[in-house]
């Protein structure tokens, strides 16, 4: 007897030891899995968020730089790499091939976002005499075109030389300037205008303070000495920026960079640095950002030409820039240097000349010009007041105007596209070409004849007149900009009102709804950029600054030359959506190209045979695949691990049936010593939620069975050994919870029904997950399936995704807020109890309806009105 009891004790002890170590193992395993699972989900969410951000960016509604493209591609790839790693930790050995897929995709992205190193061979200077348009990759397009005009079209240009892209690279490489600039850009991660201001200032100062390489200095000074030989000692020069990459993607770059006029020999090197620095001027940086031009594609070349002391000068277009169908030549001209035309700071003469043979002047507007710009004797340029008589005179004779028009046509013929030409007339009366470039033209549908007056619309006109600098209609609150100070506070969507159309206000055009200026010219920089950005602009509205008040809501009809009080919706309806200015740009294309390997999702159906590692073609595919597999691996835990009954505690209290609980981690408030645990000691969020549903209503017992149902059960019971009471499985009528604070799995078998619930519920909704499997029943297959469909219907109503396969139901719901998940678990708890044996009544539609409405009523009371 004693021996026998010893033997029995030993067996039990051994079992206990086994159980204890098993539980330990189980707990370790659970914690490790849960940890990896959480990390995977975090990376998963990060990756998806970045992809969404990239998708948003591809809509082109806001500007971004290469910095954005690089950083997003890098961080999406880092996160996807993490996902793959965590999945391999979660299920060691099972998903090894994924890492290879990841690397292959990565390999495809890299060349798209990393720029190719361009060849940096060639001289640091080229004399203008040797330059033509094919040298744009060495001297920038502006100087290349200037050389073309002088050397191939035989027009008069100033003598001088170009400081090449090679010189620029040399300067940037010297002292590691480029690396330092890149570092500043990366760290600043500038988004707001004021951050961009600081960044721009910091980079420019860095460049200006940097030392030029000695060989570069020597070359520039030597070239200047040669120029002095040709043009006289102490010759002053005009130093013009000529950036490489200016003509990318139909961008105008009009006046984004600095040019310095009338520079003395001793300041050439300083001026060179200032011009190079202007690559990072606020206007240029904003512009590149808005147009998707990569910083590294822009190399600053500088043209250094003898200064032309102009009698009169200006800008002409070989066609009407506001109307592509109008082939008249448009000339804007002033006395002195062309500055007031370029920056729109003062009124200029307008000549419109027909292409007819002979050419004829169609229109001649000669305003009073109160001032002109001339060269200081030592350096620089200055504004000079003009006496009335001189100011009233036209700055061009008709003959000169026609001569210029012929030149414009000649240039257009040579280049084959409409041209925008800056010119000057010297003291000896000859025309010197200062620069030319392809002209920015409006798209046909937006064009309008200059000064066309629109039909009357309802609304109060506050101001009218001026001229269309950029067509369109827009509304917004007035914001008057008088000083640089004001630009800092300029709100998005406001109407920019300013006295002069100064180039520096162009930085506001990505925020302005419309522009109104007191004066300006359509040939000016601000007008150019406004047209490019599709911002309606009405220039030359005298007194606008005085008559409009800050914050006053107005509608600017740039086409109709009117400003209305308030919003005039009938006018605004006609306006188009803003263009995607970035489309086709290098930055945009880099993002677009990279995203082709990142964003598309082809692995949609986890049940499809194609849902395989080798079919992951994008980062999104990998992300989707891993998420699915991770959930699968994590929530196989309850099924995969044998429930160690002896180490579990029985739920104590006034509870129907037997409920056993194994604490995997932190599911109990206090550790329990004995065999039982009370509900009050349980802190598992998902278990408590389930329990609320389980205990909410007493089970009414089996529903009254219809005759056929009963027969069906009897028949099943005789043929299905699993249902024969005599061969009861160990787990029959027992219910097992494995829990931690945020996790719970419930295996339950109530009568003939098996169900498994697994859930993770925490404050981090991205981790939240519920899966529910339901199977079995005592009735015939047909009824069991009907019941499964019945349950499906209920679950779908509460947001579950449900799959039914024969008589098995699998329902899932994920990523909702904690409260939502808790409610869903309560519903599952309720259903686990109350759908039992509903299979019996599945043939009777009246009963089905009765139970359906009872279930809905109960759920509503338990979950939704009881809170």
């Amino acid at each position: 007897m004693g021996l026998m009891s010893d033997f029995i004790n030993k067996i039990f002890k051994k079992r206990e030891v086994l159980d204890t170590s098993k539980v330990k193992e189980l707990r370790t395993d659970f914690r490790a899995r849960y940890h990896q699972f959480k990390l995977l989900l975090t990376a998963n969410n990060n990756a998806l968020e970045i992809m969404t951000e990239m998708e948003e960016a591809l809509k082109g509604t806001w500007p971004f730089g290469m910095n954005f493209v690089l950083s997003r591609c890098t961080s999406v790839s880092t996160n996807v790499w993490k996902i793959v790693r965590h999945l391999n930790e979660l299920a060691p050995g099972r998903y090894k091939a994924l890492m290879d897929r990841f690397k292959e995709i990565q390999k495809k992205i890299n060349p798209i976002i990393r720029s190719k190193t361009r060849s940096r061979e060639g001289p640091m200077f080229i004399p203008l005499k040797e330059v033509d348009k094919d040298m744009a990759d060495q001297v920038g397009s502006k100087i290349a075109n200037l050389g073309e005009m002088g050397n191939r079209i035989n027009l008069k240009i100033s003598g001088g030389f170009a400081i090449t892209a090679q010189a620029y690279y040399r300067f940037m490489k010297y002292n590691d300037l480029q690396a330092e600039i890149d570092r500043l850009i990366q760290t600043a991660n500038a988004k707001r205008p004021d951050q961009l201001y600081s960044l721009s200032a910091a980079i420019q100062q860095l460049i200006i303070r940097s030392i030029l390489p000695e060989d570069l200095e020597a070359v520039v000074l030597e070239q200047y000495r040669i120029l002095e030989k040709d043009e006289g000692k102490g010759v002053k020069v005009a130093m013009r920026s000529s950036a490489l990459g200016e003509d990318l993607a139909e961008t105008s770059f009009a006046g984004q960079y600095r040019s310095e006029l009338n520079v003395s020999g001793e300041n050439i090197l300083h001026a060179y640095k200032e011009i190079v620095a202007s690559k990072y001027g606020l206007a240029a940086m904003t512009y590149r950002l808005n147009r998707g031009i990569r910083d590294e594609d822009v190399a600053m070349c500088v043209g250094c030409m003898s200064m032309v002391d102009a009698v009169s000068a200006g800008v002409m277009y070989s066609r009407n820039p506001l109307n592509i169908r109008d082939n008249s030549i448009v000339i804007n001209s002033v006395w002195g240097l062309p500055k007031p035309v370029v920056d729109g700071s003062a009124p200029s003469d307008l000549f419109i000349i027909s292409r007819s043979d002979p050419m004829a002047i169609l229109r001649r507007d000669i305003p009073v010009k109160k001032q002109k710009f001339v060269c200081y004797p030592d350096e620089g340029i200055c504004r000079l007041k003009m006496i009335d008589e001189e100011g009233k005179e036209a700055s061009l004779t008709d003959e000169q105007a026609i001569e210029l028009a012929r030149l414009a046509v000649r240039l257009e013929d040579h280049y084959g596209v409409p041209q925008d030409i800056e010119w000057a007339i010297t003291t000896d009366g000859s025309v010197v070409c200062l620069q030319c470039r392809p002209m920015q033209q409006m798209k046909e549908e937006k064009t309008l004849d200059m000064g066309e007056i629109r039909e009357e619309v309802e609304g109060t006109v506050i101001l009218q007149g001026g001229f269309t600098a950029s067509p369109g209609v827009a509304a917004g609150p007035v914001f008057i900009v008088k000083k640089d100070m004001d630009t800092l506070r300029f709100p998005k969507g406001a109407v920019l009102v300013t006295a002069q159309s100064l180039p520096r206000w162009a930085t506001l055009l990505n925020r302005a709804a419309a522009v109104i200026t007191g004066q300006g010219s359509i040939a000016g920089h601000l007008a150019n950029v406004a047209r490019e950005f599709g911002v309606p602009a009405l220039f030359g509205v005298k007194d606008a600054v005085d008559l409009l008040e800050k914050d006053q809501e107005i509608t600017v009809d740039a086409d109709g030359l009117r400003i209305y009080e308030g919003r005039i919706d009938s006018l605004l309806k006609e306006t188009e959506k803003p263009r995607n200015l970035m489309e086709g740009s290098p930055v945009f294309m880099a993002l677009e190209g990279a995203s082709r390997h990142i964003i598309p999702l082809r692995l949609l159906d986890p049940d499809a045979p194609s849902f395989k590692t080798q079919n992951c073609k994008t980062f999104h595919d990998i992300t989707r695949f891993c998420h699915e597999k991770a959930v699968h691996e994590m929530f196989r835990f309850g099924k995969e691990h044998h429930f160690p009954e002896r180490s579990s505690k029985q739920l104590l209290g006034d509870v129907p049936m037997q409920w056993w609980i194994l604490n995997l981690d932190d599911g109990f408030k206090d550790e329990e010593e004995g065999k039982y645990v009370r509900l009050e000691n349980i802190v598992s969020i998902p278990m408590l939620a389930l329990w609320k549903g389980i205990a909410a209503r007493p089970w009414e017992g089996p529903p009254p069975v219809d005759g056929k149902g009963f027969m069906s059960v009897m028949f099943q019971a005789t043929t299905n050994t699993a249902l024969v009471p005599g061969v009861r499985s160990k787990y029959a009528n027992r219910n097992y919870f494995m829990i931690s604070k945020n996790y719970c799995s419930l295996n339950s078998r109530l009568g003939f029904h098996f169900s498994i619930v697994e859930a993770l519920v925490s404050d981090r909704s991205s981790e939240n997950y519920i899966s529910f499997q339901f199977k079995g029943g005592a009735a015939d297959f047909n009824r069991r399936q009907r019941r499964v469909f019945f349950v499906m219907e209920v679950l779908e109503e509460y947001g579950f995704r449900v799959d039914v396969n024969e008589d098995t139901l699998i329902a899932r719901i994920e990523n909702h807020e904690k409260d939502f998940m808790v409610d869903r678990l309560t519903i599952l708890g309720y259903l686990t109890i109350h759908t039992r044996q509903l299979d019996m009544i599945m043939q009777k539609s009246a009963s089905v309806n009765h139970y359906r409405s009872k279930i809905h009523k109960d759920i509503h009371e338990i979950v939704f009105s009881n809170q």
Partner: protein
């Protein structure tokens, strides 16, 4: 030649307060070629001393200097010579400092590095207003 007919010499007298030595030299030289006579002050204190001894049409004041808070210098300037316009230079385009300066009566501000012609225009504009 330039439109300074109101004054005998036609040249603008500018006080430039900035502690960036090399830079101040270059700018002074270049401004002097543009009808602007520059008196350099390499610190706030030097600026105040210069202002005691001489009249100026305009002052340019770097807000970021080693020895003294630029705003403090600005306040002293405005107390000493309320009618003299002061153009602030901000190294970092900081809105806060610029706003504060405007509240103390600064004429306008420029972000370093500035376009020389813009600077000249701003000086001329300020000088025109000051007189």
């Amino acid at each position: 030649m330039p439109d300074k007919e109101k004054r005998g010499s036609g040249r603008i007298r500018l006080l430039l307060v900035d502690d960036e030595v090399g830079f101040v030299d270059v700018i002074s030289k270049r401004l002097s070629k543009r009808n602007i006579d520059v008196t350099q002050a390499l610190s706030g204190i030097e600026g105040i001393q210069a202002l005691r001894g001489q009249d100026f049409d305009v002052a340019i004041l770097d807000l970021k200097m080693e020895d003294m808070d630029g705003i403090e210098v600005l306040r002293i300037f405005k107390k000493m010579v309320p009618e003299m316009p002061v153009i602030m230079l901000t190294g970092h385009g900081s809105e806060k400092a610029a706003n504060e300066g405007m509240a103390y009566g600064a004429f306008d501000y420029l972000t370093k590095p500035y376009n020389l012609e813009e600077l000249v225009e701003k000086i001329q504009e300020a000088a025109g207003q000051g007189r």
